[in-house]
Symmetry: C2
Subunit: 251 residues, 2 copies
Amino acid sequence: MTSVIAVANQKGGVAKTTTVHTLAEALTDLGKDVLMIDLDPQACLTYATDSDPDSLDQTIHDVFLGRTTAADVLITRDGPDLLPSSIDLAGSEIHLLTKTGREFVLKRALADIKDAYDVVLIDCGPSLGILTVNALTAADTVLIPFQAETLSDRGVGQLLETIDDVRNYTNENLSVLGGVATMFDARTNLGKRVLVDVTETHGLNVIEPPIPRSVRVAEAPGEGVSVLQHARRSRSAEAYRELAVNLEKML
Amino acid sequence: MTSVIAVANQKGGVAKTTTVHTLAEALTDLGKDVLMIDLDPQACLTYATDSDPDSLDQTIHDVFLGRTTAADVLITRDGPDLLPSSIDLAGSEIHLLTKTGREFVLKRALADIKDAYDVVLIDCGPSLGILTVNALTAADTVLIPFQAETLSDRGVGQLLETIDDVRNYTNENLSVLGGVATMFDARTNLGKRVLVDVTETHGLNVIEPPIPRSVRVAEAPGEGVSVLQHARRSRSAEAYRELAVNLEKML
Ligand SMILES: Nc1ncnc2c1ncn2[C@@H]1O[C@H](COP(=O)(O)OP(=O)(O)OP(=O)(O)O)[C@@H](O)[C@H]1O
Ligand SMILES: Nc1ncnc2c1ncn2[C@@H]1O[C@H](COP(=O)(O)OP(=O)(O)OP(=O)(O)O)[C@@H](O)[C@H]1O
Ligand SMILES: [Mg+2]
Ligand SMILES: [Mg+2]
């Protein structure tokens, strides 16, 4: 049974892309067949996994326009496979706005390829627009990376409201897997305080462990690999591996 | 003569909101009359300056819908004034898409209040959508905060392309003031490498100094103040003050 997980938070820069990439690699190391989907026009995930978004003939944008199928656009890799994106995807937002059944386009596109995978991870951009709603409609569960800092905390409430809307209208079985504290600095009180706040105010189940901040994580995308390859014994790599084990038990 | 500056970068979490808030306070300390505009539906700037976005009767969204004027929505403060936002602003994107002259709504709304200020700083959300295009159309110059890390670097090229479009269609005098390196860690090679890359690849003039990363900056929004009040002698506060002095010379 395939688990489709939307990784979402409209607050910018909370490590959504980093979490999709690193978790996908860690779950592959645990023997899972994993598909990553880049649903952000910035195409950071496509870039971080060593593809050049500007040189791809077709991306998920073409799938959304009905010009091709997901199977045709798929990039099979040594590790997790990828449905790539490019800046053209920004055009999908306008195109989808007036289309009937616009929330279901991704779900329908995935129908003929998803069964080949154990886990599908969808990287959402920093928005609650129609692309993220497509991810939430196609998903079984939602994983919410958040930075344990004040400004990032604000977004969690808004996101949970949007998830309620999706559950009421386009995906009644959608559930929240939980939150992941990213770029966490255990030495500061701010981090610990917000961690408690997210659990108490929003009732969000936070999955252990928090991911420590480390420049080694920020260096990895430049090499086209995740921190698991770039700095395999770093605390951040260890934390993402432990997160993958804890997630696997929940699926 | 009023200077209208759009602070923009569609990459999420690069300190756009933090830079607008802190620079506005620093320019006020230099004797300037400053207006901040929150153009992000997440309303982080409104929140960080100690207003509760959820309890405001009217925000810039109502100005965009033509229900009220900017003067009516304006929050006058002890320091820089604020045109606040709320999550309702996300509705403006749909409303504006079909409106004639949709790129000029903010520019027109500002016409009757902007002359009371020396500087207007517009906080954009992590998107190149119609709200950011409104900011770029209303602005004289653009300030681009960027995180000296690989994933953040990718956005600068896309943004410069959008700025070219705006200059060709809706605002021929728009110019780029420059970039500001935020959350900078001088101890790592990654930071220094990307800093060089941004200048060489994109020809972006980077305004000194880089802003050091410090948890004191991340703590400030929780108190409703900027780092200039929260940790006035920190290196980050000093750096933002120096940036304000350097910017003032360029206006
Ligand atoms: N644990 C970590 N330690 C240090 N840096 C990190 C960590 N996780 C992510 N980063 C860096 O933080 C920045 C933001 O991360 P990322 O781009 O993954 O966030 P995002 O939520 O996907 O952003 P966006 O909202 O723009 O899509 C990147 O430069 C990334 O390399
Ligand atoms: N110099 C700094 N040192 C440490 N933390 C910082 C610094 N500048 C900003 N931050 C923190 O980084 C996070 C992102 O900053 P901020 O919200 O201002 O970015 P943004 O670009 O406005 O994000 P968005 O794309 O969501 O609008 C916040 O938690 C903020 O407090
Ligand atoms: Mg991302
Ligand atoms: Mg912001």
